[in-house]
C-alpha cells in the first residue's frame, strides 16, 4: 500500500478516536474490533501478496494481462460491488 495512503488513514483514525461517538463505545467492542482488524488486515495482505506474485510472473514472462485475467478480476469486483451496494441499514 502507498505510504501516503497509510498516513491519510492514520490521520483519519486519529480524528475518529477523538469523536464523542467513538469515545462512548464500550471497551469490549474495541477489543473485539482490534482482533477483527488484525485478522482482516492479514487477509488483505495475503490477497495483495498473491496479486503481487501474479504481476511479477507477468513481468518475468514479458507479457501483458490477458482478457481472461481481466474478466476474472472484474467478476470478483462486480460481485462484491453488488453485495456492498445492496446492503441496507436495519
Amino acid at each position: 500500500m502507498d505510504p501516503q495512503l497509510i498516513a491519510q488513514l492514520l490521520l483519519a483514525l486519529g480524528q475518529a478516536a477523538r469523536t464523542p461517538a467513538i469515545q462512548q463505545e464500550s471497551i469490549a467492542v474495541w477489543i473485539e474490533l482490534a482482533g477483527r482488524l488484525i485478522q482482516k488486515g492479514s487477509e488483505a495482505d495475503a490477497a495483495l501478496r498473491a496479486l503481487e506474485a501474479q504481476i511479477r510472473r507477468m513481468v518475468a514472462e514479458q507479457r501483458e494481462p490477458t482478457e481472461q485475467e481481466w474478466e476474472s478480476l472484474r467478476a470478483r469486483s462486480d460481485a462484491v460491488h453488488h453485495a456492498i451496494q445492496n446492503w441496507k441499514p436495519d
Binding site: L5, L9, R36, L51, W70, V80, Q85
Partner: protein, 143 residues
C-alpha cells in the same frame, strides 16, 4: 481513561495489520502501463473485498457501513473505466503490432498515435482511481 487506552490499542492493531500491507505493492512490481492498470484494479478489488467482509460483520455500526457503501459506490465506476481503458489499450496494441508486421507506413503512424492516446487514457484513470481508493480505505479504517 481505560476506554481511551482500548481505542489506542485498536488503532495500534490496525497500524500493525497495515504495516504488513505496506511492504506489499503489486503496483510497484508492475513494469508496463497494462500491468500497472491491472495491479491498480486488483489492489482496488482487494480493498473492496475487505470492505465487503466488514459490511457482513454485525458488530460494525451502520454509520461505518454507510460510509463504506458511499466510498465504494464512488470508486467502482472509476475502477471500471480504468479496466475498460486498459482492455482498449490491449486491443490497440494488437492492431499496432499487426500493422507493424505488415509494414504499412501510413497505417503505422496512425496506429502509433492511437496507441499513445490509449496509453494516456489508462494513465489518466490510474490517477483518478488513487484518491477514490484512498477514500474507500479511509472508510474501511473508520471501523
Amino acid at each position: 481513561m481505560i476506554t481511551r487506552q482500548m481505542q489506542c490499542l485498536a488503532i495500534l492493531a490496525l497500524i500493525l495489520a497495515l504495516a504488513g500491507c505496506a511492504t506489499t505493492s503489486p503496483i510497484r512490481a508492475a513494469e508496463t502501463t497494462e500491468q500497472t492498470a491491472f495491479a491498480a484494479y486488483g489492489t482496488f478489488t482487494v480493498y473492496q473485498e475487505l470492505a465487503g467482509d466488514i459490511m457482513r460483520d454485525t458488530a460494525v455500526p451502520d454509520r461505518v457501513k454507510l460510509a463504506i457503501q458511499r466510498a465504494e459506490g464512488k470508486a467502482k465506476p472509476i475502477a471500471d473505466s480504468l479496466s475498460e481503458a486498459a482492455r482498449e489499450l490491449l486491443r490497440v496494441r494488437r492492431e499496432y503490432q499487426a500493422i507493424m508486421a505488415s509494414e504499412d507506413g501510413d497505417g503505422a503512424d496512425r496506429a502509433q498515435q492511437r496507441l499513445l492516446e490509449a496509453a494516456e487514457g489508462v494513465s489518466r484513470w490510474i490517477t483518478e482511481l488513487e484518491p477514490a481508493m484512498a477514500d474507500l480505505i479511509r472508510a474501511v479504517g473508520e471501523v
